[in-house]
């Protein structure tokens, strides 16, 4: 349809200029750039791990056992003689995947919920946001532990459970944005053109709220990854034979007295990633000029 193509073109143009502007500001923030660089490197490594990992994921060497870092095993080996670098690379795939997928779940639920509440206003808004308030008061950490226990520990559920917790703040931010946007003339124009509410929300409101959404998404990923690692550490998250940084840290903590490198390297990988994401999120907040959350 013609109308769609036009909107698409306009959107793309706005998007580029927003990004150019933000990029100019972001470039001046060294910590954010550092975060971006580390993160991109880790993501690329995670994507190509199956081809570049120095050893096979399940390769054991029981004769070797746990050995400190060396020329053959850059980060050492665990008690089964498995290469730690390989383990960290494969674990990173899962940790990052949980971070991104669960955040995407939170993003979709939160943005939709907030946009609908903000757009409809009135009683619908009151009921929807009151529900968010009530959910906010629930002790979710306890609930996730409960969910993982009750339904067995599968990865898909982990995505859903974490995503289902993290959407609340996103909904609040989105609602605040939509509430202020919908007073503006271009929305009135869209309404008088006879566009359906769903189209208005999708085509006009969400793109204009992109800044806060991106910033908050960047800051949600680290908290999601932390949650995954927390659960895996307790033995309620990712299960062997799969691995994740949280699981590696928990193994490392068990044997740290004899083999400290098994704790330190996975810990460094996780901490560095969380650092990078937080710095990048803070940097983006400044670059996109997003004020505090919309509630």
């Amino acid at each position: 349809m013609t109308a769609t193509t036009i909107t698409d073109a306009t959107l793309a143009e706005q998007g580029t200029s927003l990004w150019q502007d933000a990029w100019r500001r972001l470039r001046k923030n060294r910590l954010a750039l550092f975060g971006l660089a580390v993160l991109s490197t880790f993501i690329v490594i995670a994507l190509v791990t199956p081809w570049i990992a120095p050893y096979a994921y399940d390769a054991q060497n029981l004769d070797l056992g746990a050995s400190p870092p060396s020329a053959e095993h850059w980060l050492g080996t665990d008690i089964f003689g498995r290469d730690l670098l390989t383990q960290i690379m494969f674990g990173g795939r899962i940790s990052l995947a949980v971070g991104f997928v669960a955040t995407a779940v939170a993003l979709v639920i939160g943005v939709t919920w907030g946009a609908v509440a903000g757009y409809m206003g009135g009683r619908v808004d009151a009921v929807m946001m009151r529900l968010v308030d009530i959910l906010y008061a629930l002790p979710f950490m306890i609930f996730i532990v409960l969910l993982m226990v009750v339904f067995g520990r599968n990865l898909l559920l982990l995505f859903l459970a974490i995503g289902a917790v993290e959407w609340l703040t996103m909904a609040r931010i989105m609602r605040g944005q939509v509430q202020s946007l919908r007073q503006q003339e271009f929305v009135e124009a869209a309404i008088s053109l006879g566009l359906s509410p769903a189209t208005i929300v999708r085509r006009h409101l969400v793109p204009n709220a992109l800044g806060p959404i991106i910033v908050y998404t960047t800051l949600t990923i680290p908290s999601v990854m932390l949650l995954e690692a927390f659960l895996s550490f307790l033995g309620l998250g990712v299960q062997p034979p799969a691995t994740s940084w949280g699981l590696l840290i928990s193994y490392g903590a068990e044997t740290m007295e004899e083999y400290p490198w098994l704790l330190i390297f996975p810990g460094a990988a996780l901490t560095l990633t969380l650092f990078s994401l937080n710095f990048l999120g803070d940097g983006l907040r400044d670059a996109l000029d997003v004020r505090g959350s919309g509630d």
Partner: protein
């Protein structure tokens, strides 16, 4: 003010009821009964056990009976430890957890508040950057990593402090409290810095300075009260986080507290224990949130006026 408190209390009731209901049915629909693991239980014994735990009743009746018990403050018998009630188990674990939480909160408020206020007094100087960088590390370093690292350094390498235990050896409470409190100290440092910076640019601070008050009095008598409101408001969510953190810290340091019981109950599928603890902890968290909101409102005259009108 009283209306505000009453209103918040009324809001808390549906939350707690929702927690009870959701937890109850989640636990009941879980695949695998608690007595499945015991091999070949005689049918009569199994029936007797199920009658004792009311598993033979229809689900709706079980739920109503559980609510009636809760109203009397009874959380029921434990599945895993026959003869002991969930109340007893919670009472056994609570003192250690409460003490650990209190120390951690103390660490968080004192260390974090101090660091934040110090940083805010000279923004964008070394006095600001150093504590704030440490705070950033504190936020990014998960509890379950910080704990083992502290043990490695102070317990194993330097041998200054015991590596585990609670109240068995002198000094064994230091590392767990530090571990649990560190992340919240970091958040509080950031919050109090931001809060103080905002307050210090207000007119009434300029007035206080114009009166000729020494700077430390300006800070302690005029700025702190306003600057620390965000910190007080954060204490409610922080309490919930501390409880969750205590799961990990109690596991690492082998502290016989509620958090460790909860994780064990989760692994043992001790349903009544999971249910009872969830209800108990959730109620605590909801009440603490309420307390922190009321305190923040009381500290903030503008907010107080608003609630007075409403």
């Amino acid at each position: 003010m009283w209306r505000f408190i009453a209103g918040r209390l009324l809001q808390a009731i549906p939350v707690i009821l929702a927690v009870i209901t959701v937890t109850f049915f989640l636990v009941r629909v879980a695949p695998g009964g608690p007595f499945d693991s015991e091999k070949a239980v005689i049918p009569e014994v199994k029936a007797a056990l199920e009658a004792q735990y009311r598993l033979d009743l229809p689900l709706g009746q079980q739920y109503l009976a559980y609510l009636a018990d809760l109203a009397k403050g009874e959380l029921g018998p434990s599945f895993k430890y026959p003869g002991r009630s969930v109340n007893e188990l919670i009472a056994a674990g609570l003192p250690a957890t409460a003490e650990l939480g209190a120390y951690a909160l103390l660490v968080a408020v004192v260390l974090g508040g101090l660091a934040g206020v110090i940083a805010s007094l000279k923004p964008n100087s070394a006095q600001d950057y150093i504590p704030m960088s440490v705070a950033m590390i504190g936020i990014c370093m998960p509890t379950f990593l910080l704990g083992p690292l502290l043990v490695l350094l102070f317990g194993i390498h330097l041998e200054w402090l015991p590596v585990a235990g609670w109240g068995d050896m002198p000094g064994d409470k230091i590392l767990p409290s530090l571990t649990l409190g560190a992340a919240y100290a970091a958040y509080i440092a950031r919050l109090s810095r931001a809060g103080m910076l905002e307050v210090m640019s207000q007119d009434y601070i300029r007035t206080a300075r114009a009166k000729g008050l020494p700077e430390w009095q300006v800070v302690t008598r005029h700025a702190l009260r306003g600057g620390l409101i965000p910190v007080v408001a954060f204490l409610g969510p922080a309490f919930a986080g501390l409880l969750a953190g205590s799961f990990v810290v109690e596991t690492i340091f082998q502290i016989p507290g509620l958090g460790r019981f909860y994780v064990q109950a989760a692994f043992n599928r001790d349903y009544t224990m999971i249910l009872g603890t969830t209800v108990f902890l959730s109620t605590l968290i909801v009440l603490f949130n309420l307390l922190s909101d009321v305190l923040a409102a009381w500290l903030n005259p503008r907010l107080r006026a608003q609630f007075g009108e409403a």
